[in-house]
């Protein structure tokens, strides 16, 4: 009888495996909170290459995927600008990455100038870094500590009640994480959903 049980268990296992596969699992972020982000190199809007690890010595690095034509991302432009102004003086580097195939680098440069995004903006033409991290929307932030370890991933703010009204958008979700990293503590909330426009990839992810 034990062999019957083994066969039954095998059958049940197959069924459970199949059940788990149902539902159309979307690709998740490829880096998890607590994992170290690998170095990458991308050009800025002038074509000059930059490495993530050139920011060695910073207390934290906020990597934010941004867009020029996404109204939702644009409603957070002032949030990003304000956060950068406030936290750069406290040892945090901000990096904006544009990975949208539909938004040329000249447009990205002009957009940053117009909206006061005066931190480093990189162009991810082939979605190399977006794919490496599993970034899916704009705006979406990956906050690293001084050892390149991911401490927070998700929305700048407003994840519970998304809005593209610039009067309502805020950085209330990334801000506590920034403060925690600067204080050498673990963030109380390490992941939120980064609602926004899906990144227009060169190829389907």
């Amino acid at each position: 009888m034990s062999r019957i049980k083994i066969v039954l268990a095998f059958g049940l296992g197959l069924f459970l495996l199949w059940s788990a596969c149902r539902g159309g699992e979307l690709p998740a972020a490829k880096i998890k909170v607590g994992e170290k982000m690998a170095d990458f190199t991308l050009p800025d809007v002038n074509g000059k290459p930059h490495q993530l690890y050139e920011f060695e010595g910073k207390k934290a690095v906020a990597v934010i995927f941004i867009a020029t034509r996404c109204p939702y991302s644009n409603s957070f432009n002032h949030v990003m600008a304000d956060l950068a102004h406030e936290y750069e003086s406290r040892g945090v580097a901000f990096i904006g990455i544009n990975a949208n195939k539909t938004e040329p680098v000249s447009e990205v440069a002009e957009h940053a100038r117009t909206h006061g995004l005066d931190f480093l903006i990189l162009k991810d033409e082939g979605n190399q870094v977006a794919d490496q991290l599993g970034a899916s929307v704009t705006p979406e932030v990956f906050l690293l500590d001084s050892t390149w370890t991911l401490r927070y991933h998700g929305a700048l703010g407003n994840s519970h009640q998304p809005t593209n009204n610039p009067d309502k958008t805020n950085g209330d979700e990334v801000r506590p994480a920034l403060d925690a990293v600067l204080a050498g503590k673990a963030a109380s909330v390490t992941e939120t959903k980064a609602f926004g426009c899906s990144i227009k990839r060169v190829k389907a992810g």
Binding site: G196, S198, R201
Partner: protein, 211 residues
């Protein structure tokens, strides 16, 4: 560009196969275990599993219930309303699309949703569109839907906790739009897409579910 998705195995099911029945096993009656007995038992167990798989993707009626009439105008949708909408569509295959008037790829894929609905509604497909626009965008939503000739249920999100809703639908949905979710007639999530998706991608996923 195509939406991000992984295929599910559900399209392998044949609607007819849910009528299959597993008979008794005379070879294995009694206490003696033989290789033949093991073989037959294995086949039976695997048959049971296959039948369970096929039954789980099927529905109890060969004809889908009629499509519930869509609400008039753009209805605000909270978590309770979302559950109600899904319950109303039980028995039909349901394609849910999250979009916004400010989202270009959403607008671009919308005609495909209308065409899918027009083509397959009589075969049991329902489509529901949930706008992520601000309340003041209601006229823009209505104007767009009218221009598209959409005659399915259209709502504007008013969720109390959108993040929790995202996680309840599919925890791996990053939150980007357009996003679409396909439910079988028993209300099980079968397929998820994040990013613009083509007519053919939608069609190949939903067609095997229809009756």
């Amino acid at each position: 560009m195509s939406g991000k998705s992984i295929a599910s195995g559900i399209s392998q099911g044949s609607p007819n196969a849910r009528h299959s029945r597993v008979s008794g096993n005379p070879v294995c009656q009694g206490a003696t275990w033989t290789p033949a007995c093991a073989g037959v038992t294995t086949i039976l167990v695997l048959s049971c599993c296959l039948a369970a798989l096929l039954l789980s993707v099927g529905c109890s009626h060969s004809v889908a219930p009629p499509e519930p009439p869509p609400p008039q105008g753009i209805v605000a949708l909270d978590e309770t309303g979302w559950e109600r909408v899904r319950a109303q569509q039980r028995g039909r295959v349901l394609l849910v699309n999250f979009w916004a008037t400010w989202c270009d790829p959403c607008r671009e894929e919308f005609p495909d949703l209308v065409r899918l609905h027009n083509t397959y509604r009589s075969h049991g497909l329902s489509v529901v569109a949930i706008s992520m626009d601000e309340p003041e965008s209601r006229p823009a939503i209505e104007q767009f839907l009218k221009s598209q000739g959409a005659n399915f249920g259209s709502y504007r999100q008013q969720f109390k906790d959108f993040e929790a809703l995202v996680n309840s639908i599919n925890p791996r949905w990053g939150g980007g739009i357009p996003a679409s979710f396909l439910y079988d007639c028993e209300g099980h999530l079968v397929e998820s897409w994040e990013g613009a998706t083509t007519y053919e991608e939608f069609e190949s996923a939903l067609k095997p579910l229809l009756r």
